[in-house]
């Protein structure tokens, strides 16, 4: 009886997703299920279509065919900003922060959005204590509180990546998509990033694209393997590790 009650709900579903760009087939017949509150990693060699998949889920591109469901609701082709308001948030593989604004302002942008303060042209920003507090809270979670008045473009790479994640979690999303969050990081920075990610995604759904297998196996509850636009396998880390198809295609080459 207990097992039945615990059957996980799918927070995200992709059904029959295809994507081509000017004749080039990038994704073919993708079917994916992400359970609520799970940590789901998507791995695959370069060019397998991972970022494209992310862009499709988060509304940057429209799929050529197929449908996407968020909490059971069809979201195919919905605008990114609406998706964020529905509880989805993402980070970018290539750091996409507000370079000309300070660290504090960066996070505050997201906090304001979360609090639905968008078109207000009468209140004074500096006097919004609640906003400021929430901003500082996120800043301390990502470890950038001391650097709050620094211009974002001047941070070190690792700090920018932390801010990148910070922007994703500041809107308090239910489902977080991180696109290669540890790209370009040293071993130590990577470990810190993993700790950060585990902390901030506590109780939320996480979909993470990663190349670093250590990161993947230390975070993921389930893994999906993307290979040349198709899902090769999808399941528990142990299953994936032992899957022959996967071993042949990918794990052998990519072991870090």
């Amino acid at each position: 009886m207990a097992e039945l009650a615990e059957r996980p709900r799918n927070i995200l579903e992709l059904k029959g997703i295809y994507k081509d760009f000017e004749g080039l087939q990038v994704l073919l017949d993708i079917n994916l299920e992400v359970h609520e509150r799970e940590r789901h990693a998507i791995i695959g060699p370069n060019g397998a279509g991972k970022s494209t998949l992310f862009n499709l889920i988060t509304g940057k591109y429209r799929p050529s065919k197929g449908r996407i469901f968020l909490k059971g609701e069809a979201i195919t082709g919905t605008n990114p900003f609406k998706l964020t308001r529905m509880g989805m948030a993402r980070s970018f593989q290539i750091t996409n922060i507000f370079r000309t604004m300070t660290v504090f302002e960066n996070v505050r942008n997201a906090i304001l959005s979360k609090n639905k303060i968008r078109y207000n042209m009468f209140s004074r920003l500096s006097k919004m204590d609640g906003i400021n507090r929430q901003t500082e809270q996120v800043l301390s979670e990502i470890g950038l509180l001391e650097r709050k008045n620094d211009v974002a473009g001047e941070l070190s790479y690792g700090q920018q990546r932390a801010l990148e994640i910070g922007l994703a979690i500041a809107t308090d999303p239910e489902i977080i998509l991180l696109d290669e969050p540890t790209a370009g990081m040293s071993t130590e920075e990577t470990r810190e990033a993993v700790r950060l990610i585990q902390r901030v995604t506590e109780g939320k759904t996480l979909i993470i694209v990663e190349h670093d297998m250590e990161v993947v196996f230390s975070i993921a509850d389930r893994i999906s393997v993307l290979y040349y636009g198709k899902v090769l396998a999808s399941g528990l880390p142990g299953e994936i590790r032992n899957d022959q198809k996967v071993k042949d295609a990918y794990l052998g080459e990519e072991r870090k």
């Binding site: 370079r99 604004m101 078109y119 042209m121």
Partner: protein
């Protein structure tokens, strides 16, 4: 900003001068200062469109002219329309047109946007010019009422001067204050990284439209004030040449500084008054000077552009 107190002091100095002017300047000069102040508001709205929204408009005179025409038509045809209501009417009409245009233009990239503003300027100018029955075409509209404000006659240049300074001052203050509000912040973040702004849940298009509508509104107010100042309004207030002058004024004054538009407006009004005595072609000289200025000092005066990181 380390310059904050500097700006404050400039503001205070200007304020003091502002109050003193009518008592020290001859009528003619006072009128020039009034004109400078009214036009400065217009130039400020253009500058803000560039600086905050990153949009270069070749057709800003549209809002100025429509605001002027709307208010004048109001004073001519609506019996007993008060001064402030007429000015407000001008602002609202300009704002409405701004809303419609920006709803259409907002999805365009910078280059398309610029081209389209130019094209729309021509279109609206042509309509105004040809619709003689309503707008007087080339001859324009004059002889419209100049209602008193709170019982004070606006025909006295001093009174009108004070009205302009106060009204423009309020509008300029709001423009400044805007940058400290959440919507002002959204505008800033769009400029910093439009894509990320979308992905943190903000409707970029809607924010731009609201911002641009607000700017059009203020430009319309400037137009309405100008119409009363001139006691005349013609098609030349809505044509491409006027748009060009706005651009030139903005750049001469410096688009990187808050008071730039006032400076640019001042230089322009003075030069147009005095240079035109010497040569018919002063506009050409003015234009060439601005172009050379932009060529030689793109970073110096014009720091705030998309290229600045």
């Amino acid at each position: 900003m380390k310059n904050r107190s500097f700006y404050l002091w400039v503001g205070i100095a200007l304020g003091a001068l502002g109050i003193l002017f009518p008592h020290v300047l001859p009528k003619f000069q006072l009128r020039m200062v009034t004109e400078i102040v009214v036009v400065a508001l217009l130039v400020m709205t253009w500058k803000m469109m560039l600086n905050e929204a990153g949009l270069f408009s070749f057709g800003h005179a549209v809002y100025f002219g429509l605001g002027a025409y709307a208010s004048v038509l109001g004073w001519l045809h609506i019996k007993g329309l008060s001064l402030m209501s007429g000015i407000l009417l001008g602002g609202l009409v300009a704002g409405l047109v701004g809303f419609i245009l920006s709803a259409f233009l907002v999805r365009m990239s910078g280059t398309y946007y610029a081209l389209l503003t130019l094209a729309f300027n021509q279109l609206i100018w042509a309509i105004v010019w040809k619709w003689r029955n309503v707008t007087g075409g080339d001859d324009g509209l004059g002889k419209f009422p100049k209602p008193d404000l709170l019982g004070i006659s606006m025909k006295d240049p001093t009174n009108f001067y004070y009205l302009s300074v106060v009204l423009v001052g309020v509008c300029l203050f709001f423009c400044w204050y805007f940058t400290k509000t959440p919507l002002g912040n959204v505008t800033k973040s769009i400029k910093s990284n439009e894509e990320r702004t979308r992905f943190i849940g903000l409707n970029v298009g809607a924010s731009k439209i609201i911002f641009l509508t607000m700017l059009a509104f203020f430009a319309g107010i400037s137009g309405a004030l100008y119409a009363q100042f001139q006691e005349f309004i013609g098609a030349s207030s809505i044509d491409l040449v006027m748009s060009t002058h706005i651009i030139f004024m903005a750049f001469i004054g410096g688009i990187g500084h808050f008071w730039g538009p006032l400076l640019g407006s001042g230089i322009y009004v003075y030069l147009s008054e005095y240079l035109s005595h010497y040569t018919d072609r002063w506009e050409l000289i003015f234009g060439v000077v601005v172009v050379i200025l932009v060529l030689l000092a793109p970073q110096g005066i014009l720091g705030i552009t998309k290229k600045r990181k």
